[in-house]
Subunit: 294 residues, 4 copies
């Protein structure tokens, strides 16, 4: 397994593809906007004309795209991967989509003799850059074993969550947790600030407490410095909260806090902040509260 | 400052009083239910008949009671501390109440020449036991300096947040964060479990992620083992979320997620779980979702 | 336009089909469970083997099915209406689905020369029975004119909301209103009852007030009598709230109360009440609140 | 019972006092801002220097003030009604406060031989003007009988809800209903408008539906005309939703939709709209949604 296809050269995908190339794989790349692939030519990434053409060239192909519609097009569209796929290949999807879609991909590609693994990741832009992502995987044990060389090139830990669909559940739950932590922090900072107290004191207390987290240090600092460079965009978190809520509705699990979180992202998007980092949700609430954190 | 009064011998207070005695202070204790003080006789705690009588005996007095009404009674009631207070004493309140009340105490005790500090703590039962609490303080710099020997005996870190009222704001924000983390974890675990995925995988991913926290390890384990020994009760968190929302309403800060969190505690109390640990909120949701985490 | 097809013989559809037959149309019927059509043989409804076969027989066809997936199957599936459709026919969809789907239907049937109108209704079972439904229509003015004979047979008022998609928006907004009214009533009744006050007094005040509505009289009486015969099921309202929230997310409109309403329906479904009338949501909350309205 | 005191000359109180004068009572008035009483001199209202002085002059006294703190001051303050009250008088409170406070008033005035009735009203400014208010009353049957002449002068219907406290519960539930109806309408109008559909169609459908209400006609028209003259202010509704939630928290009744409604009022107040009519909440959401209804 030497030749790897990588489709989707966004914030995460471009960095993962680069790591694969650096670690010695021959990487064929494709992106809806071709320029993003060309930029990686120096790193050795070879541009493919279509997903279909790419599939014909490689031993394994990986996708990392922004939403279910994009993945459906890349995988199942007229010029998609399935049209070019061959028996014995491996397909790893690093996107975060629904379990229904990943299960459909397993079935359709399986019918062609292609092994499929869903593999959403956490670690954001920095983790993709450094190859230290945590990978959640849903697939058979055999496929999990096949994925190891690729996982090793892009992440530092791969956790086998169960069959296809399981990793998506875990990933979506993790994102709800991130959103809950960040919104709790934001609401706390806003009230603290409007009440005239230095929000740095709140961050200091959190850092000393039993509920401390590197995430609070990271986002607290970013918010204080108003650095909203996108590690994980508001649009993507909004999509993931929607996927979580759809799954909760289907499974009949009441999740009131996740529902309230989706509304905060709705609001931040309506305020025109969709492509900023999730840390910027607080700026939409600053306007609502008529105050500034710092 | 050798003789210290301690009022309120609950989960937190009894452990803090014991630590003060162990560290060499002469401790006079009072509790609404006197038996709790008698139990500490072996640790050297001397029982007082009333808060008023206690105040007449000591250099400084500390309170750690459950809510604003209880604090008002102990501090300002007919047999309360103010009735026995003397110029030059120090009053430290370790309870979590409203900033309005702590500011009123500063004014009324200040008029008698008593220095006042609000000092809500975090670290729950274990921190109180081991003397490793984190103390948030709101008071003048002079009073903060006076408090050091007492803070050193019950906690490992004291953070001066600003004047009286500031520490309450920080403490309430911290509790919203705890509730958000725990509810995010609970909703995630519930959906993961109902979808047929092993929740241990979710905990494993969290522990490996950038949003890991000792709090998730602690509560995740407790939930798996269904150990809901009270470290911080649902009733108390419900009260604190209410105080946060009252403050947010007064300051005109929209806090939708905190509002949704209060409702989950409302629901857990209605389900008869008010005196259990906040970790048990998930058991109320297990009933709603018709599933069990493990 | 004499021969009409009707597909979907649920709570609403069976009554609408019967009214069409009574008013003199020749009605060809189809339902996923054929028995429901046979039951209407006495009323003159002629059973069709498939939607495709039905389409070949009639001048116009109407659908009234439970969700987008069912409509897609009936309209676009291998044995669906499109496969049998002929130039010059009229297609009226009385279901409540998404605007995306109705617009797709307009396009695909339009390409065959079939006029399409979306026509969600309000009035519930009773209105369908008596032919007094209010019909919201989205279509061209020409198609709206063509629909009049059919609309006149099943409803008392047809409101032309705009092009295809517009009526769905209006219908979904109306359902949010219904859910808000009912949940407001339910939360008010629950607290009134648990506080020991006779809930009939609340209903009496509402009926005398400026915010009175026949809906409160209707549902208030049903709740008091614990009559939850299905006029509009919890499952269907849950679906419609989801469609509204999907649309709100796509349009970037924050709708916090609609989001909280969807959670109450999530909860009622998890409690096993999905096929009961929406009035039964309160029974799920009675359990939560540990009280009974009456 | 000829001489009546009226305290609180706001939007509602001034109109009620005037009606009492018009119907033949001798009215003694008091207001925190005395000018409001002077304005009613032409209607025959005699200004009193203090609540205490007023109580000494009359057979019965009525209050209609904005919140619990104001009522406490007027009734129980140093120059309050209790200080001037005499055995055999009647005290009717038309404010909306908490059941705890009205029960306290019943006890304290009862100890002086004064009969007490809580009597919150609905009907807003117009009803107060025309004497067509609906009055909810909590008191003993005997006191209810004594109140009739006064009720008859200011309202068209008085409903005896139970003992003191009961009418407050009913009133608060009614206000939750109003807020739910208005917010449901607002979210529906916002999404309808942003989706490009004429919101007048939504109002037309509502008016033709089984969930129609004079309230939707009234507020729908006001919103279309952007007429936010205060009938019932955002600040007052925010206070009432808070009272409802406090009561729900105390009674352990989960009320998720009421909680979400309070947040919308929080947000509208933060946007500087607190003294506008509740119809103006939608203008705060127009900003959030980046759209205009009309």
């Amino acid at each position: 397994m030497k030749k790897i296809g990588f489709l989707g050269m966004g914030l995460m995908g471009s960095r993962m593809a680069k790591n694969l190339a650096v670690k010695g794989f021959t990487v064929h790349g494709w992106n809806r906007t071709p320029a993003r692939v060309t930029e990686l030519a120096g790193a050795g990434v070879i541009a493919a004309a279509t997903p279909r053409a790419l599939a014909a060239e490689v031993d394994a192909f990986c996708t990392c795209v922004s939403d279910p519609a994009a993945l459906r097009e890349v995988a199942l569209g007229p010029d998609g991967l399935l049209a070019g796929a061959k028996k014995g290949q491996l397909f790893i999807d690093f996107s975060t989509v629904s379990g229904e879609l990943t299960q459909q991909l397993e079935t359709e590609f399986g019918a062609r003799g292609v092994d499929f693994a869903e593999a959403p990741v956490t670690g954001s832009k920095n983790g993709a850059e450094k190859g230290t992502l945590v990978i959640m995987t849903g697939c058979t044990p055999q496929t999990f074993a096949r994925c190891q060389p690729i996982f090793g090139a892009v992440g530092e830990k791969a956790i086998h969550c169960g069959p296809v669909g399981a990793a998506t559940q875990v990933k979506l739950a993790g994102n709800v947790l991130i959103a809950a932590m960040l919104q709790g922090l934001s609401e706390g900072m806003l009230l603290t600030a409007k009440a005239g107290v230095d929000v740095r004191k709140l961050l200091e207390v959190i850092a000393a407490s039993g509920f401390r987290s590197p995430y609070f240090d990271f986002k607290g600092k970013a918010i204080l410095e108003r650095d909203f460079t996108t590690h994980f965009s508001i649009d993507l978190m909004h999509k993931d909260l929607g996927l979580f809520l759809d799954s909760a509705a289907a499974q009949q699990v009441p999740t009131p806090t996740a529902a309230s979180l989706r509304e905060t992202y709705n609001l931040a998007r309506a305020a025109g902040k969709g492509d900023l980092d999730i840390g910027a949700v607080i700026t939409a609430f600053e306007v609502l509260a008529g105050t500034r954190i710092v």
